[in-house]
C-alpha cells in the first residue's frame, strides 16, 4: 500500500510546487500567523521530491478556497506554484499562479527613504523586471525591492 506522508483532503486548497523553503511565507500570506483566522487543519510539506524538477514545498489548507488577492501574493514569492481546489477529494480546479507586469499595493518599498513610505496618498507600485526569480523595481524611487516576502502588505 502506498504510504502517504500527509493524507488527501476532502475539501480545500492544495498549493503545490512552492519554491523550497517558501512554505512558511505562504502560510503568512494565507493568514496562518493571525491567530483565529484559520479554523481548519493546515498541513505543510517541506523539501519533498518534485516530479517536475528537484524539490518543492506543498501547503494543504482544508475547508477553504483562496481569494485572488492571496493568490497574487503567492505569485510574488513562489512563481512556479500551482493552486488545486479540492472538492470531495477531487481536483475541481487547477491553475498556476500568474506574475503580473505591475504589482500595485501588495508590497511596500524596502527603501525606507522612498516617498511611498511617507504618508502620501499612493499605493506602492513595482514594475516586474523578472518573473522567475521575481525581481521588482519601485516605480517611484527606482530601487530594486529586497526581501519581497518580508515586505508583503
Amino acid at each position: 500500500m502506498k504510504e502517504f506522508k500527509v493524507t488527501p483532503i476532502r475539501n480545500g486548497t492544495v498549493i503545490d510546487h512552492i519554491d523550497c523553503g517558501m512554505a512558511l511565507k505562504v502560510l503568512r500570506i494565507i493568514g496562518m500567523t493571525d491567530g483565529g483566522k484559520v479554523q481548519s487543519p493546515v498541513s505543510v510539506l517541506m523539501h519533498v521530491p518534485s516530479k517536475k524538477e528537484g524539490w518543492k514545498d506543498v501547503v494543504k489548507v482544508e475547508d477553504r478556497e483562496l481569494d485572488p488577492k492571496e493568490v497574487d501574493k503567492i505569485a510574488l514569492i513562489a512563481p512556479k506554484a500551482t493552486i488545486n481546489i479540492i472538492r470531495d477529494f477531487n481536483v475541481a480546479e487547477k491553475y498556476s499562479v500568474r506574475m503580473p507586469e505591475r504589482v500595485v499595493g501588495k508590497a511596500r518599498c524596502s527603501n525606507p527613504n522612498c516617498i511611498t513610505n511617507q504618508s502620501e496618498p499612493v499605493e506602492p507600485e513595482f514594475v516586474v523586471e523578472s518573473k522567475d526569480p521575481p525581481v521588482l523595481r519601485c516605480v517611484y524611487c527606482d530601487r530594486q525591492l529586497d526581501d519581497i516576502a518580508g515586505n508583503l502588505l
Binding site: N113, C114, I115, Q118, E120
Partner: protein, 304 residues
C-alpha cells in the same frame, strides 16, 4: 512631458537637448534676448537647500522671458503644517505652467509627476536621480571634447551615495565612453549601476587608487563625499579627505585632461587647480543655464 530620470529621455532626445543647449549659449550669457516663454510661469519647489540648481533654473526661465513663483522655505509654508506632497503639488500646478522640484526623499519627483497635469522636472530626489545635472555634465564634455566615443572618463569620490554619478555613468556608457570608478570599497559604485553600465555595453574598471588612473584619463569627474548622506559619522570620517586633486597629481595627466565637479566642493579639489587649463567646473556650473533653457523650451514648446 516629465523629466524625472535620465531614462525618460531617449538617446535621440538627449542629443537634441545637447544641440539646443549650444544654441542657447548667447542667450544664457545675456548677449541676446528672447521672449520664447513670455507669459509662462515656472514654480520652484526646493525642499532641500540648493544654490546652483535653483539659481540656474531661475536664470534659465528669466532669460527666456518667463516668470517664477517659489514655494519658499518649506518650514514657512503649509508643508510644516503636515500637508502631503501630493496636496502641495495639486495646489502648485494650478498656479504655474511647469514645476521644478527638489526633495530629500527618493521617488518624490515621480510622485509629483503623477499628481500634476503640468510638466515636472526633477532637480534631485534624495540619493536618487538628478537628470538635469547629468545633461549639463554631458553637455560640458561634449562642448570641450566634441565626441564621446572612446573617451576615458574617471569618476572619483562618493560613488555610492552621489546622486549625479549613477545616471551619469549609465548615460556615458551608452555613448561609448570607457569608465573607471575610483572609490574606497565602502563608497564604490552600487552593483546595480555597474550592471546597468555593462548592459549598456560598457566594461567599467573599479579601483581605489586614483594615481593609477590619472595618466590616460580624458575626463576626471570628482564628487564630494557627502556628509549628510552618511548614516554613521564614524564611517564618514574614515573616508573623508581620502582623495585630493592637486597640481602634484595632475603632473601625471594629459595636457587636455578636464577636471569636472558638480559643486559644491569641500577639499577634494585644491583651489590651486582652479587656474590651470584642466579646471572646467565653473564652466560646467555656467552650462546649467543653457541646458536648463533648452529643456524648459523643449518641454513648454517655446519658439527659439
Amino acid at each position: 512631458m516629465d523629466i524625472v530620470s535620465i531614462r525618460d529621455l531617449s538617446r535621440e532626445q538627449i542629443e537634441q537637448v545637447l544641440e539646443r543647449s549650444e544654441r542657447m549659449i548667447p542667450y544664457a550669457r545675456g548677449e541676446m534676448s528672447s521672449k520664447a516663454l513670455d507669459g509662462k510661469i515656472l514654480a520652484t519647489l526646493f525642499f532641500e537647500p540648493s544654490t546652483r540648481t535653483r539659481m540656474s533654473f531661475e536664470s534659465a526661465m528669466m532669460r527666456l522671458g518667463g516668470r517664477i513663483t517659489d514655494l519658499g522655505v518649506p518650514s514657512m509654508s503649509s508643508i510644516s503644517k503636515g500637508e502631503s506632497l501630493a496636496d502641495t503639488i495639486r495646489m502648485v500646478e494650478v498656479y504655474s505652467d511647469i514645476i521644478v522640484i527638489r526633495h530629500p526623499r527618493e521617488g518624490a519627483a515621480r510622485l509629483a509627476a503623477r499628481f500634476s497635469s503640468k510638466p515636472v522636472i526633477n532637480a534631485g530626489d534624495g540619493a536618487g536621480q538628478h537628470p538635469t545635472q547629468t545633461l549639463l555634465d554631458l553637455f560640458t564634455i561634449k562642448r570641450i571634447k566634441k565626441d564621446f566615443d572612446k573617451l576615458k572618463v574617471v569618476m572619483v569620490g562618493d560613488l555610492k551615495y552621489g546622486r549625479t554619478v549613477h545616471s551619469m555613468a549609465e548615460a556615458l556608457s551608452s555613448f561609448g565612453v570607457e569608465l573607471t570608478f575610483v572609490a574606497p570599497a565602502a563608497l564604490q559604485m552600487p552593483k546595480e549601476t555597474v550592471k546597468q553600465v555593462e548592459k549598456a555595453g560598457g566594461k567599467p574598471k573599479l579601483t581605489n587608487r586614483l594615481e593609477e588612473t590619472i595618466a590616460d584619463a580624458d575626463v576626471l569627474y570628482v564628487t564630494r563625499i557627502q556628509k549628510e548622506r552618511f548614516p554613521d559619522l564614524a564611517e564618514y570620517q574614515k573616508v573623508a579627505g581620502m582623495y585630493r586633486v592637486d597640481k602634484r597629481l595632475l603632473r601625471e595627466a594629459k595636457s587636455d585632461l578636464i577636471v569636472m565637479h558638480p559643486l559644491p566642493r569641500v577639499d577634494e579639489i585644491d583651489p590651486e587647480v582652479d587656474d590651470t587649463q584642466h579646471a572646467k567646473y565653473f564652466e560646467q556650473a555656467f552650462n546649467g543655464v543653457p541646458v536648463r533653457m533648452a529643456l524648459l523650451n523643449l518641454v513648454l514648446g517655446g519658439e527659439l
